[in-house]
Amino acid sequence: MYRRFKPYILVAPLLVFLGATFYFGLGNGLLQSFGAVPGALESRLTLRYYREVLGETSFFISLLYTVYVALVATVVSNLLGIVGAFAMLGLKRESKWPKFFYQLPLVVPHLVVVILVFHLFSQTGLFSRLAWRLRLVAEANDFPLLVFDPGAVGVILVYLYKQIPFVSMIVFGTLGSISKSFAEVAYNLGASRAMLISQVFLPLLRPTILSVFLMTFTFSFGAFEVPFLLGSPAWNMLPVKAYVYYTNVDLTYRAQAMVVNVMITVISIGLVVAYSHAAHLRQRMGNGGDI
């Protein structure tokens, strides 16, 4: 009897805990988006706040803006991260310390990276001073605005600093376990390094890359702290928008904050679902391709 229920008993604490906290919070957030906030204007659940928020163009502008930032950050960090992983693979000597330091950004919290980016890239930052030295700018204000700017460059740089090593480590992990034997076979059969990477490694890494792409995208999409500190005051990314609504003195804006939150959640989950569907489909169709 115990045997049969054992797995369920083992996962019970997890489900209870998450149920009472995460899912409860999620549900609550959902309810609040339907108007169930303290000081509510109506006593029933309503779609009113959805209409208000989604009716404003500023929402969609914010959405596109957030997608732009997340996409740029994710695409660049994944590309460079993969390059980094291959670079690690190709290193001549077994290097413990360099690899350790390469992972250092993983330990540095986003907030500290904000400081770093600010210190380096603000108009009075180190790069600006370097530019002045090299006579590329006449004074501080001539240096392009890279933080608090509409292009969200500062925000993207923060994400790059953290995500490139992250992607590298994950890709390298998978690469490390498959590479030696396949590389030997491929080289022995006459493949060039380019052929090995493009025909063997990258296809084998596809699931890992897709998964890490998704992870980094959802993070950049939903993260609040970095755009809050380094983002442009005029252009709000969605999570910041939610925060602004939430901290409004008028408590009814809480509902609108929740609407934005729900939208962020729905989009993130939607992407994950789309990914797992695509993964399933690919498995079923096999890899039919001709020579």
């Binding site: 998450l18 360099p98 390469y102 002045w132």
Partner: protein
């Protein structure tokens, strides 16, 4: 991986080391910031150095000690709670094929996909009502929500790779449940445990907005301490806190790695 076949070694080294420099150099310049009293534009190095920022941070009347203590305490408690919940769950997910397994896995990983503010804002009000806001317990709970997915992922993987056979073997030889746990299960999953513990510690240690909202301003942690300085432009103080932060994290990592090595040495018979 010392594998090198063709002459790409130099290009690889170039790429790798430039990435490395890009990661480490900013941190070093941050270190310089901590002792900078004045660094006017357009100098490339500080004009006046001073210990005063470090002194202020570590001054006894500052809340540094309190914040550090809180941060570490919360991180440790979060890690413990996380492991307590995650290990049995991961065991079930990794070793048994039961109905609903895929669903549970998905449910466990969800916090990774939903932005933290969404959930925190959702939980805020109820936590106020339960009196959990402003307490260490409340903060630990909210942190655990976000550390659990990492722990589950790593530990499930470990259990999947390990399989049940060692424990079954031990039980056949007559070991009690507790003996099996202590002498077989835990040593075998130790690397995974460590990885999960490390991630949990780091995630908890780094939390800002969750501690801010649920802590209600009464629980002070290091991230909470230095964000105001960042916003008010006191970058040097923020830099000192940053380095304090990094050193503490590295210290915690070193301690856990060292503890594991010692553990393995004392139980060398149990090494694979």
């Amino acid at each position: 991986m010392t594998f090198k076949m063709t002459k790409g070694g130099r290009l690889s080294a170039l790429i790798f080391y430039s990435f490395l420099a890009a990661s480490v150099a900013p941190l070093l310049s941050l270190l310089v910031l901590t002792v900078t009293a004045a660094w006017p534009y357009p100098r490339l190095s500080p004009s006046v150095l001073s210990w005063r920022y470090i002194a202020t941070v570590f001054a006894p009347n500052r809340q540094t000690a309190e914040a550090l203590g809180n941060s570490v305490l919360i991180a440790v408690l979060t890690t413990l709670l996380t492991l307590l919940i995650a290990v049995p769950a991961a065991k079930a997910l990794g070793l048994y094929r039961f109905r609903g397994r895929a669903t549970v896995k998905l449910l466990a990983l969800m916090p990774l996909m939903v932005p933290s503010i969404t959930v925190t804002m959702g939980m805020h009000f109820s936590m106020i009502r339960l009196g959990l806001t402003g307490s260490i317990l409340g903060v630990v709970i909210i942190h655990t929500v976000f550390t659990l997915p990492y722990a589950i992922r790593v530990l499930t993987n470990v259990f999947e790779l390990l399989g049940e056979r060692h424990e079954v073997q031990a039980k056949m030889l007559g070991a009690s449940q507790l003996m099996v746990l202590r002498n077989v299960t835990i040593p075998l999953i130790m690397p995974g445990l460590l990885s999960a513990a490390t991630m949990s510690f780091i995630v908890s240690f780094t939390q800002y907005i969750t501690t801010f909202l649920i802590g209600g301003g009464r629980i002070l942690t290091i991230p909470l301490l230095f964000v105001p300085h960042l916003q008010s432009g006191e970058i040097q103080v923020a830099a000192v806190y940053s380095w304090l932060f990094i050193m503490t994290t590295l210290g915690a990592l070193a301690i856990t790695q060292g503890a594991v090595k010692k553990f393995y040495k004392s139980t060398y018979l149990l090494q694979p």
